[in-house]
């Protein structure tokens, strides 16, 4: 074969290569991390629409119920997802929820602090705990799994010991009366869009109580926070420099450091993020229940990680999305509430949760191989 014909065949090959590079819009969509969770949510809604469509699950009251549960989980799932994209885990989220609840309740009830001050105190403690988690992981280079597992026990134990020491009990009730005149408590304890629900009630569009007030009184604060956080986290991840640093830190720590990304600072800030999300969760729940419980938030860290994984986060970091985690939380919230409206025994919920996660991990793994596949 002559030199010339060789070069021609090489050229042909290279144009073929370029054609391979063309990516259809469908494939772009398939490559988005949140696709699985979005599809899953739709399936779940179709399923309950068929099985429980006429049971009141999708009435305003029923919908707000499962949205509230989803939103609470979503708040911590989004923070957990961002941390996972940054390449780390936080297993102390659940314990932090209990700890934060106590940090709000004990100063407010036993030390006579105004409620707003105890809430700020709880957030300050969250920053400290998050910073401590982060600095330990960054400085020692130990897996965050181990460091935060230790923190899981330390925080839960400290919460129990301190509470019993100060109060002699494991629960601190009596917060509800303090909410009324507090300058910031309404942020975590007020239903919004009440006028809308009153109006819908007056038009007889939603269910009413016997006294004529609507059964669903407004959008719970968790839902507002959840939506706001989803938007905020997505903006950070997709639109800011810091977001790029999160992906880079989780994708390749060494490489990111070599090109000047402050990996340590990024990771520490993300740990502070999960601790603060746990505290927000605690605020909403404690003010809603009017009491703090030392066992509050138990196992929530695993649910948050599960929701993030179902939402498309890779366990190895560097890939995932906040919207995905939000849908992941929506799936769990919908199923955990929806199961009451069906004939299925609620004992089966955890089976579903585990199966869902397995499917998600297998699916995500496949996607990752697709994305990183070299020609």
């Amino acid at each position: 074969m002559s030199e010339k014909s060789k070069s021609i065949s090489a050229k042909k090959q290279s144009t073929n290569d370029e054609r391979l590079k063309k990516v259809s819009n469908l494939k772009v969509l398939l490559n988005r991390p949140e696709l699985g969770a979005l599809g899953g949510s739709i399936l779940v809604f179709i399923f309950f629409g068929i099985v429980a469509g006429d049971t009141g699950m999708f009435s305003a009251y029923g919908a707000l119920n499962f949205l509230d549960v989803s939103a609470n989980l979503g708040i911590i799932a989004i923070a957990a997802a961002m941390l996972m994209i940054g390449g780390e885990f936080d297993l102390s989220i659940g314990s932090m929820i209990g700890f934060a609840g106590i940090c709000i309740a004990i100063p407010a009830i036993y030390w006579g602090w105004p409620l707003w001050m105890s809430i700020l105190f709880a957030f300050a403690m969250a920053v400290l705990v998050g910073y401590f988690n982060g600095i330990l992981v960054v400085r020692t280079g130990l897996p965050s799994f181990i460091v935060t597992l230790a923190m899981l026990f330390i925080l839960r134990g400290a919460t129990l010991a301190i509470t019993r020491l100060i109060t002699g009990r494991t629960q601190v009730p009596g917060l509800r009366v303090l909410i009324e005149d507090d300058p910031i408590a309404w942020l975590f304890a007020t239903d919004t869009f009440k006028w809308l629900f009153t109006w819908l009630g007056s038009m007889k569009l939603i269910e009413l109580r016997t006294d004529g007030t609507p059964l669903a009184t407004g959008i719970p604060p968790s839902v507002i926070w959840f939506v706001a956080l989803t938007i905020f986290a997505t903006w950070i991840l997709m639109k800011t420099r810091y977001g790029n640093w999160i992906f880079a830190s989780g994708g390749d720590k060494v490489g990111a450091t070599n090109v000047g990304v402050p990996v340590g600072r990024v990771k520490i800030s993300l740990f502070i993020g999960t601790a603060c999300a746990a505290t927000l969760f605690a605020c909403i729940q404690v003010l809603d229940a009017g009491s703090a419980d030392t066992m509050r938030g138990t196992l929530k860290e695993l649910e948050a990680i599960a929701a993030a994984v179902v939402g498309g986060c890779l366990l190895t970091g560097g890939y995932g999305s906040a919207i995905g985690a939000a849908f992941g939380a929506l799936i769990f919230g919908t199923v955990s509430m929806g199961i009451f409206y069906t004939d299925v025994d609620t004992d089966w919920f955890k089976v579903f949760l585990g199966a869902m996660m397995l499917i998600a991990v297998v699916f995500n793994n496949y996607i990752r191989r697709k994305v990183t596949e070299s020609k």
Binding site: V23, K239, T240, F247, N258, G318, K375
Partner: protein, 264 residues
């Protein structure tokens, strides 16, 4: 003062009792490609790390544009324009071309506290820069993981040049590549040098080094065997200067011997 963009005079580096580098001297001019050759364990990696500010030399000095310079960190080296492209390339396969190109140095727009990563501008620059090398990135938001090894190497080099590299240190840029891919990368390196960069190309592959290099420094067991310009050095001589040269001769003799025995 000096036409050398960068000079290394009598660089030595010790790790405890181990002499990793001893009295290594090299000079690189603007627009020149200097190939640093050596077998495994010759001290190439230690030398690169010393040049790029990871290690401090125990003896000797680094002179950039006539001025003596001491690096305290890789960032110092980067700031005066010495960029190193390591073998791992510092690319994240799961991230897009653009996000990798600007990783750590993202262009921003908007008001303070609400600054956003200017992805549109970044996409344009990344696609343009890759286009200049002849890599048609149709979609700069595609993941780097979908690119070939040669394209990734070019992306890493192109990124270093875009962010103001004057001296480009390339660590084994062709070692993991096939023949075609390697030639694409080498072509790009020549082009970069012709634009006025000083390039230090580290490799153990004489066949890749010889066609593109202007001068050659051979390292053997931590010492420099000297720097030669291309006209004073044949490819064969260069081959035999590398640690493997002698051994390959020996191997040849042994093989001939075996051949002779088997024929008898």
């Amino acid at each position: 003062m000096s036409e050398n963009l960068i000079e290394f005079n009598g660089i030595s580096k010790f790790f405890g009792k181990v002499i990793a580098l001893k009295d290594v001297t090299m000079k690189v001019k603007k627009g020149e490609i200097m190939c640093l050759l050596g077998d495994n364990g010759a001290g190439k990696s230690t030398l690169i790390k010393t040049l790029s500010g990871v290690h401090k030399p125990d003896e000797g000095e680094i002179i950039v544009e006539g001025q003596k310079i001491i690096f305290d960190s890789p960032k110092d080296a980067l700031d005066i324009g010495i960029a190193t492209v390591y073998q791992d390339l510092a690319l994240v396969p799961l991230m897009s071309v653009t996000r990798n190109f600007f990783m750590g140095r993202e262009p921003q727009k908007g008001i303070p506290f609400f600054k956003t990563f200017d992805i549109k501008k970044a996409n344009e620059i990344a696609a343009d820069r890759m286009g200049q090398i002849g890599i048609d990135v149709r979609d700069p938001s595609q993941a780097v993981g979908t690119m070939s090894g040669g394209e990734r190497q070019c992306l890493a080099i192109s990124r270093a040049i875009y962010f103001g590299a004057k001296v480009l240190i390339l660590d084994e840029p062709t070692s993991a590549l096939g023949v075609h891919q390697a030639s694409v990368v080498l072509k790009y390196i020549v082009k970069a040098a012709s634009q006025g960069l000083a390039v230090i190309l580290i490799t153990h592959n004489v066949h890749h080094a010889y066609p593109v290099g202007n001068s050659f420094t051979v390292l053997n067991r931590g010492k420099s065997l000297g720097t030669y310009s291309k006209k004073d050095l044949s490819r064969e001589k260069l081959l035999s200067m590398m640690a493997g040269g002698e051994e390959l001769d020996k191997l040849e003799v042994e093989l001939k011997e075996m051949d002779r025995i088997s024929k008898n």
